[in-house]
Symmetry: D3
Subunit: 140 residues, 6 copies
Amino acid sequence: MFTVCVRDHFMVAHSFRGEVFGPAQRMHGATYVVDVELRRSELDPDGVVVDIGRASAALRKVLADLDYRNLDEEPAFAGKNTTTEFLARMIFDRMARRIHAGELGSTARSSAGAGAGGLASMRVALRESHVAWAAYEAPL
Amino acid sequence: MFTVCVRDHFMVAHSFRGEVFGPAQRMHGATYVVDVELRRSELDPDGVVVDIGRASAALRKVLADLDYRNLDEEPAFAGKNTTTEFLARMIFDRMARRIHAGELGSTARSSAGAGAGGLASMRVALRESHVAWAAYEAPL
Amino acid sequence: MFTVCVRDHFMVAHSFRGEVFGPAQRMHGATYVVDVELRRSELDPDGVVVDIGRASAALRKVLADLDYRNLDEEPAFAGKNTTTEFLARMIFDRMARRIHAGELGSTARSSAGAGAGGLASMRVALRESHVAWAAYEAPL
Amino acid sequence: MFTVCVRDHFMVAHSFRGEVFGPAQRMHGATYVVDVELRRSELDPDGVVVDIGRASAALRKVLADLDYRNLDEEPAFAGKNTTTEFLARMIFDRMARRIHAGELGSTARSSAGAGAGGLASMRVALRESHVAWAAYEAPL
Amino acid sequence: MFTVCVRDHFMVAHSFRGEVFGPAQRMHGATYVVDVELRRSELDPDGVVVDIGRASAALRKVLADLDYRNLDEEPAFAGKNTTTEFLARMIFDRMARRIHAGELGSTARSSAGAGAGGLASMRVALRESHVAWAAYEAPL
Amino acid sequence: MFTVCVRDHFMVAHSFRGEVFGPAQRMHGATYVVDVELRRSELDPDGVVVDIGRASAALRKVLADLDYRNLDEEPAFAGKNTTTEFLARMIFDRMARRIHAGELGSTARSSAGAGAGGLASMRVALRESHVAWAAYEAPL
């Protein structure tokens, strides 16, 4: 299995509900450094998993909708704790939508000499500090 | 699959038996930076894999039993080479015991809307330098 | 010149005033990974620049007053942009106050065989992402 | 499952063919920091996945055939785009050949008390910058 | 003294002349991760050393003239070994030219309440691998 | 001022004397990742601060005398606490001796078009974990 990973980051404010969160129930914030890994069983005819430029551009668009925002005020997250693992899943879903819409250009292509065309799976990891991170991965 | 990872470290002395270890047969030591990854198929009702504070506290307790010690003098490791991969397994086992004893609080809960309650698996990685690391992973 | 560095982090929300900040004028947040470097021309009789445990504890106390907070609501920062460089200076000042109050225990001691007792200078660096950081340094 | 990882690097020139590569169609170059992960279900009698010294030496030999070279002039890569993911696969194949030839010394041994002898799988990851990497993994 | 640092990277091919370089006399290449540190004794009225967005944009322009190129064919470097330390100096000079031309917008401003207006010095560091880097620093 | 840095590591056991060290009074150990920075005001005729290969080889020799050892048994450190800052100084002194003996080959050369020949200063930093390091720097 081949993997390609691109990295970017975003900076948000939020607060959590639930005693388990302790002081994180207060309004605070985080820098999330995001790694998106894309997997494919065979390389395409150009010798790549996916065009890294396109993957980076799609990730930037997904993050631009979150960057420099207070997530408590985003209607899409109403009633949800925007934990690191929740955000990993949410970014996964938004990237997956762009991939399925053809933004990375790979879905229409069949891999050279391989039975399975396109991307097999994706993993989105968010590093919130030098001592903690979370991730979500699933088939595409 | 969701993953959450917490990081801590410990510093120990030890020596190895076996010609394959060359100069590492002498008494020496290492800083091990430990990453514990916990996996779960669905988030709990708070939107987390596990309470990061509790996971970090459990890891600290496991490492406190090793930190600033000469592993050659620990009865638990008698007759064993405390290699990086061996220590990864040993920390896995000690963390697993704490998880099964309910220290992370997640075993009694069933995941919201998910068939499988609790944590699915764990991976313990020990970085011994900027050029080498070892890990052990298994279902919980 | 000897240097010792300890690392910790804190997570806050804030917003900036001024067109130069673009989207960062909105409420957002950051994880700041903080490196505090302490410098001294000669080691003390124990062979250290400063007790790392005490330095880490003092840093934790300074960061605890900021951690998991909305800096826009802190009276101490009223009318100020809490930029990364501003925060580096503020943490420098608060650490310096603790050092001068004897919390690191080194001010009363004269360095063994050295003309100058105590710490010479300090540098506080805040990493806000994998691509940007800021710092403040000055004599103590 | 146990994993051991060793790290090394190599520095090469190359160019790509295909419009998708944009400016990377020009002669340029890269530093590739290489992580080779070796996996095994049980530790050997010495308590290791594999002798780290031997694994590092084998990796160095594989990289020495590539280091400080223009990959466009290597007959082995004629007609191929030497992308990061292609190189990960190529290094996997060359490492696998050395492993199967007994250079890591583990194939003749059966794991103590385990059904499966030898290494189960390998993953080769190449970091090309602080924001992008690629990998290839497969059973051995 | 305050410092702000921005990071970017570029990927080039080149070769060196001189027996001291051994195999690096062959055509090869490198990824250079570039850190540009800007220093100033007092913050400006917005509370910053310099607008990070502008600094990043200026750095990108400087690196775009080098990225994805064979430095042996660049007239500006004819007869020179484009070593890491040489490139650090060259990027310093090109950044300095942009700063003096007002691209970072700070030269016309005097620092609030400070005797010295504008930036005091700059440091450019190029990381060529996980085990080696070079830098050049000088007053501005 | 130009800087070149090379990195290597060593792994040792030791114990400290003095109540200030708490549990570190017990026999324990550390991995030290060592960065040696060499500074020079002008590049030599080859366009380098110093031959990186020679600098790395000299550092390896210095570390080989420490690697995989119990520092409590080294006559050279009798009666001393081998703290991170102490070791930084000791490695500085041993590197300086090799530099002055001509092992890096640069002392006999005068810099091209520069008043000062040879290396100006050196900094030795030892990272003992992901949250602490120490360094020593001085003119050469």
